[in-house]
């Protein structure tokens, strides 16, 4: 069995074990949940370290395992990693471990909560590892449904029911639209298999007709786009994250949400090249909506969670911009941000969850001076905010810079506006929130707050921060893995670009690539 099966399988096994634990054995329930995700995270780190030396199969995937499931439809359980998902799986497993650790804030019905959390973690890790269209969708759906239940039951605030309703509707619609697109893709590919490498191989010799591509691509774009909170389908996200219990928000905003983006890169870009090309401009304009409009909305938020939620929606814009640029640097940058933002979103939601746990409110106006009482949490929040603004040293900077270099070739004017949005708007709301929450006078009622007391409590925050810093200082760890596979995906676009008048595009891409390496080696 492939190590990937274990990475996705251990949380599920732990969830099944929990079914048989009586509900009053709280310590054991928590220990099983933490242990299940810990094993999966350790295995993911091991897999990430062994990646370079692992044998590669004919399609370019490593740690592959394939078991036929439904022969008549060509569905098989097929997992494998390449540069595109190796970072995501590592990030997902670490975030799942951190989320399980942060779940001490849940006090009621812990057993059900941990079961759902583990199913969510296992499902999404499996979806990222899956190289079969059916399982890709199936496992994501398996992870998605617990989200709704967790928000509905353990959510906080008065708007809980409304937010649950909204997020369920939005995300179900998105997932089902994407399902129609995926089924249409399967039927139109003519390969009679759900196996992604086989479909891509088949499409090389029998590309899909342009009108078919133009039909399927919007289904995938908007289906996945709703899942990723592409503007203007983003309104579920800030509110949903605002009421969600923090472990759920960590896993969803950090990991689950990347599924749609990953789907676009893994499936839509290689299989629907012409349509992607004609839609690239629209994506680029929509992502401005994410970056500018939602960033602007974030500036006006009075609630820390809503602010983080909006800022996380805004960050999705950079990833879409990277995808829309359709070149090696842009796509590499998009994958980098996906990993970086996963750690960042999880970290910020974990921290806001801690503050909520302590104070019972996230209204920024009621907070202030918290850094004095909560030095560890405060510092971590400050660092997270700086990472969110794109401060060099954190992984987000590398990703965003790479995306901008990539996008510059395709959309110079949009890139300029987006850069402005990224640097100025992000800077404004992040620093303002930090000033109002962490500095200034400390209201009397917060004198009794206590900081994360022991190493065990500090571990999830520290772990996520360290991951951000590691990939911020050594992006080579990721880019070396992403580059060859992103190159494979954009190779079809290079050919088309080459047929355009400016046929030295490939050369230019390479020169930008060198510049990017220079930045990384600084």
């Amino acid at each position: 069995m492939s190590i990937l099966t274990y990475i996705a399988g251990w949380p599920i096994v732990a969830a099944l074990l929990l079914l048989f634990v009586p509900r009053n054995y709280r310590v054991i329930i928590r220990a099983i949940a933490v242990l299940g995700t810990l094993i999966s995270a350790v295995l993911a780190v091991k897999m990430f370290c062994q990646y370079a030396g692992a044998p590669v199969d004919a399609d370019g995937y490593r740690f592959v395992q394939q078991v036929p499931w439904v022969e008549s439809l060509g569905i098989s359980y097929h997992v494998g990693v390449d540069g595109l998902n190796v970072g995501l799986i590592l990030m997902g497993a670490i975030v799942a471990f951190a989320a399980a650790l942060c779940s001490w804030e849940i006090q009621t019905r812990e057993k059900e909560f941990y079961i759902l959390l583990l199913v969510m973690a296992g499902g999404i890790l499996g979806a990222f590892a899956s190289l079969d269209l059916f399982f890709f969708y199936f496992l994501h759906e398996l992870a998605l449904v617990p989200t709704f239940i967790m928000i509905g039951v353990w959510g906080r605030g008065e708007k809980k029911n409304y937010a649950t309703f909204q997020i369920t509707l939005y995300l179900s619609i998105g997932a089902l639209i994407a399902l129609i697109g995926l089924i249409a893709l399967y039927l139109q590919s003519g390969a009679n298999t759900f196996d992604i490498p086989k479909i891509i191989e088949h499409a090389k010799t029998n590309p899909l007709a342009v009108n078919v591509q133009n039909f399927i691509f919007p289904l995938l774009l908007f289906g996945f786009g709703i899942l990723v909170s592409l503007w203007p389908f983003h309104s579920w996200a800030p509110l949903g994250y605002g009421v969600a219990p923090s472990p759920t928000a960590m896993l969803h905003a950090g990991v689950l949400k990347k599924f749609g983006l990953y789907g676009l890169i893994r499936i839509a870009l290689p299989l629907l090249p012409q349509a992607a090309q004609s839609w690239a401009h629209i994506i680029a304009w929509l992502c401005l909506g994410n970056i500018l409009y939602v960033g602007w909305v974030a500036m006006r938020q009075r609630d820390l969670n809503l602010l983080i939620g909006n800022s996380s929606v805004a960050h999705m814009g950079f990833i879409f911009l990277g995808i829309a640029s359709l070149n090696l640097i842009g796509v590499t940058g998009a994958v980098l941000i996906m990993v970086a933002h996963g750690f960042l979103a999880a970290l910020t939601f974990a921290l806001s969850g801690y503050i909520y746990q302590q104070t019972g409110t996230l209204q920024i106006s009621e907070l202030g001076g918290l850094c004095r009482k909560l030095p560890f949490i405060g510092t971590a929040l400050l660092m997270a905010a700086m990472a969110g603004c794109g401060l060099p040293g954190f992984a987000n900077f590398v990703g965003e810079a790479t995306v901008f270099f990539g996008a510059w070739k395709m959309f110079p004017s949009i890139t300029v506006i987006a850069l402005w949005g990224a640097l100025v708007i992000g800077g404004i709301y992040m620093t303002r929130a930090i000033r109002n929450i962490l500095h200034g006078p400390l209201p009397e009622k917060w004198n009794s707050l206590t900081d994360a007391s022991n190493a065990w409590r500090k571990l999830p925050y520290a772990l996520l921060l360290v991951s951000l810093l590691v990939f911020g200082f050594l992006p080579k760890l990721l880019t070396d893995k992403i580059n060859p596979d992103a190159a494979k995906i954009v190779s079809s676009y290079k050919l088309q670009v080459a047929s355009l008048p400016s046929s030295d595009a490939k050369l230019k891409v390479d020169s930008i690539g060198n510049r990017q390496l220079a930045i990384e080696n600084k």
Partner: protein
């Protein structure tokens, strides 16, 4: 033959009723279950007459993979219903338990005939055998007004639809002179322009639409589902619906394929409206059986997706979905029987605290609802996936954009249904201050059948391979 054994078994039960003392009548049910189990195993092993494919009685009766699949489905459903009836027996009228069992068996015989019918006479006889036994089964709780009301409603609308169907059959016979499906298929293209012939086919579809509760013949379903004794409701939801579908498949794709090919838009519209109607009307329901009544209308709509696709993959998906539906609905009604047999109404609030009263029942009902909503990894998901796939396939091969609209309608339906299915789950786990927290005792046969349902739901959802091969084979038999 299966049919004769089942009828014989029903008669033996009636006789046994005379000899077995009243307090041991529950065991008559278990004996019947054992006998049906033997029949099921025989039919699965392919020994005896079940394995011989061919026609009999001058082409009226056909035995092929399709009929075999449906027969096994009916027998499984009947076994589960008998288990349920055994649990429910104390609510039935004094001393009439064995009658109830044998009526279920007679209805089962009708369904078995329906699965094999290859002729309009056979179709009508089997439908009447099913419907008339159901009139009695629905109004079996003679002391309960609701049950009687449901029986009368079912009788009036059922009789009306039967008369439409006979009229349709008469018109078909009058124009073509054929009643046999296979022979009719050969001559039907000549009558493609005959309005009377087309009207006849349409009227037959009206009769069958009543059986499967498709729009606009669905009005009876919620009332009857609510009023009938719960085991009857379960059998009605599965057996009667599946019998309607097997006949629909035979008529549309064996008897008049040339007409069916022209009617794709009609089927698309009916399927779409049925899905929307069922799901939208289910939203405000507070009575659990009534809610399942509306949801069964919606599911008839989903099943019609497979018919509307007009392809072997659609028919195969339909059968796959039905197989998952059997276990799911049975699991749901089993819990209703056990939890609500002592309550005056089947209001959803009666589920409050079920989580503490019996974790197994709570989990079972949750899994059933989740499967009905079509969420992985349960049976409902893979079935819906296959149905959607067949519809999109039809859209791409025929370039009829109505199919895309239908696929999106189905999606809207699925999303609406999430709301009310999750409402039930919420009532189980998270309703405030439940009135009654006494634990529910489960007899071991009840436990056995619940575990069987759960195993079926997971097996069909997780290991589709075997069943899909069977349904593909059955769908292939239809095209011949």
């Amino acid at each position: 033959m299966l049919e004769l054994s089942v009828i014989g078994l029903g008669l033996v039960l009636l006789l046994a009723d005379l000899f077995v003392p009243a307090e041991r009548r529950r065991f008559i049910g278990y004996a019947a279950i054992a006998a049906l189990g033997v029949l099921l195993v025989t039919s699965l092993s392919g020994n005896g007459s079940c394995g011989q494919f061919g026609t009999a009685f001058g082409g009226m009766f056909v035995n092929d993979p399709l009929s075999l699949f449906f027969k096994q489905l009916f027998i499984v459903a009947a076994i589960l219903v008998l288990f349920m009836a055994a649990e429910f027996s104390d609510k039935l009228a004094e001393g009439s338990v064995a009658e109830y069992y044998s009526l279920i068996l007679f209805a089962l015989a009708g369904m078995l005939f329906a699965a094999s019918s290859n002729d309009f006479t056979m179709l009508f006889v089997s439908i009447e055998l099913i419907t008339i036994t159901f009139y009695v089964l629905v109004s079996f709780q003679r002391s309960k007004l609701q049950s009687l009301e449901a029986g009368v409603k079912y009788l009036i609308l059922g009789a009306l639809s039967s008369s439409f169907m006979v009229f349709g059959i008469a018109l078909i016979w009058g124009t073509t002179g054929e009643l046999n499906f296979t022979k009719l298929a050969a001559v039907a293209p000549q009558f493609a322009d005959s309005q009377i012939f087309l009207l006849g086919v349409l009227l037959v579809l009206v009769g069958l639409g009543f059986k499967i509760a498709a729009f606009p013949f669905q009005i009876w379903a919620p009332d009857v589902y609510q009023g009938a004794p719960t085991p009857t409701t379960a059998f009605l939801a599965i057996g009667s619906k599946a019998a309607g579908f097997v006949l629909l498949l035979r008529v549309l794709f064996t008897a008049v394929p040339s007409v069916t090919a022209q009617w794709d838009n009609l089927l698309i519209v009916i399927s779409g409206i049925t899905i929307l109607y069922g799901n939208l009307c289910a939203i405000p329901q507070r009575n659990l059986k009534r809610l399942l009544g509306y949801s069964s209308i919606a599911h008839a709509g989903y099943l019609l997706l497979g018919v509307a696709a007009l392809s072997a993959s659609g028919q195969s998906a339909l059968m796959y979905y039905l197989a998952g539906y059997v276990f799911t609905v049975m699991a749901g009604f089993f819990v209703i029987t056990l939890v609500m047999r002592h309550l005056a109404t089947e209001d959803i609030s009666g589920l409050a605290g079920l989580n503490q009263r019996s974790p197994l029942l709570a989990a079972t009902l949750t899994i059933a609802m989740v499967s009905l909503a079509g969420i992985p990894p349960l049976a409902g998901f893979f079935g819906k996936f296959l149905l959607l796939k067949s519809v999109i396939e039809a859209a791409q091969t025929t370039h009829n954009h109505g199919y895309y609209c239908l696929a999106f309608t189905a999606l809207v339906g699925v999303i609406i249904s999430l709301y009310y299915y999750f409402g039930v789950i919420r009532a189980i786990y998270w309703s405030k201050d439940p009135a009654d927290l006494s634990p529910i005792e489960l007899s071991s046969p009840a436990k056995l059948s619940i575990w069987a349902c759960l195993a079926g739901i997971f097996w069909i959802g997780l290991f589709p391979n075997t069943l899909l091969n069977v349904t593909n084979l059955a769908a292939a038999a239809l095209g011949k």
